[in-house]
Symmetry: C2
Amino acid sequence: MFLQTYETYNSINDRDLKEKNVVVIDTLRATSVITTALFNGAKEVIPVSEVEEAIELSKNFDRDTFLLAGERNSQKIEGFDLSNSPLEYVPEKVKGKTIIFTTTNGTRALKKVASAEEVILGCLLNVSAVARYISKSNKDTVIVCAGTEGKFSFDDILTAGAIYEKLKSLTDFESDDLSKASYFLYKPYENNLYDIMKYGYHLRRLEELGYTEDIKFCLTVDKFDIVPKLKNGIVRTSQDF
Amino acid sequence: MFLQTYETYNSINDRDLKEKNVVVIDTLRATSVITTALFNGAKEVIPVSEVEEAIELSKNFDRDTFLLAGERNSQKIEGFDLSNSPLEYVPEKVKGKTIIFTTTNGTRALKKVASAEEVILGCLLNVSAVARYISKSNKDTVIVCAGTEGKFSFDDILTAGAIYEKLKSLTDFESDDLSKASYFLYKPYENNLYDIMKYGYHLRRLEELGYTEDIKFCLTVDKFDIVPKLKNGIVRTSQDF
């Protein structure tokens, strides 16, 4: 098994993903939000790239079956039901609902890799579940970090490092330089990820906007034992497909 | 001053480089070779992308004034005078010569950023000289790693980390996530870079090809106190311009 990591989705092309597991990571906060929503009983999450697309798509649903959700510039979108804060995705709100979801980095990364056969979603909340999924599948795997504003982002790379570490305890595998680098960055901070994450531009920006509780939540390792999976444009927990 | 690091030259565009210092790194081995050649008295190095281009260009020079040099697949090019091994660039061979030079990653990275106003070349051999140059210029700086086969490569990123560390001791600056990550990767291994470099695909490939002495040479920190600079397509030491 060979593990590759991409710091963003910019340079990915379909050939890189052929016959591989693809793991999309956007720890702050899109994949953390989707994982939380599904764990708390949401029926499904439909990622879309644009705000207008989300509104258009919602017209196909009865009003009490869907929620419009997401962010632009890390803030809630006007007229939407939910922002990009995982803390809002409580069972009382999301149970049984279809969540139409648009964010700046995360949903675009999902769209970019949508043609791959197996796309799963990773974040710190479900690191072990993702590592087990990869190990069981025993297929070459590509980790695609959403990145921040098109660039390498600490939060996603450190999550890749956490997955690498769990995977190492489950199976033997080869990997590229960035996968190994993510592990070397993660390992000294495994018991206090905030101590390295705090140097990241994205985390600092969220702190400035007051999202301290969101960050604390998203930095929790292995809170949820589920693997969200993207299929035909819809994300559900992997056992629901 | 703001420092940015790019893991490869793939996603760079001219706008990213405008009014900035650009530092190109290809530690294994192109920028190490060029730095060594200039230190040992070569008049100049002309980087070109293609083998045919190198041969064509050489026709403009008298035979005793130039050397054809470079590699393909890490190996010497047939009919060329020198390979991509810094150990070959001794004073007896290179003194006063124009070196027409083509490599897979390094010279392509140089071509990609050639439009920038200030392009200097970095490697472990001249880390402190590069850091001093950046600090004195006090301009926003972009480090462009050549990478290996279009991907993130340990050797270049760790060199970026070494430059970051020297720069930190000279001046205050802000930086992006990858610059900081390069420092976090470098710092624990600063006294034995081989212990982390050895995990890199590129270094292992060179070892398999028998270039152990080259690696040892290229991993020497601060052997040379010069800064090669690219101007109008030609690399000379910065004080020669």
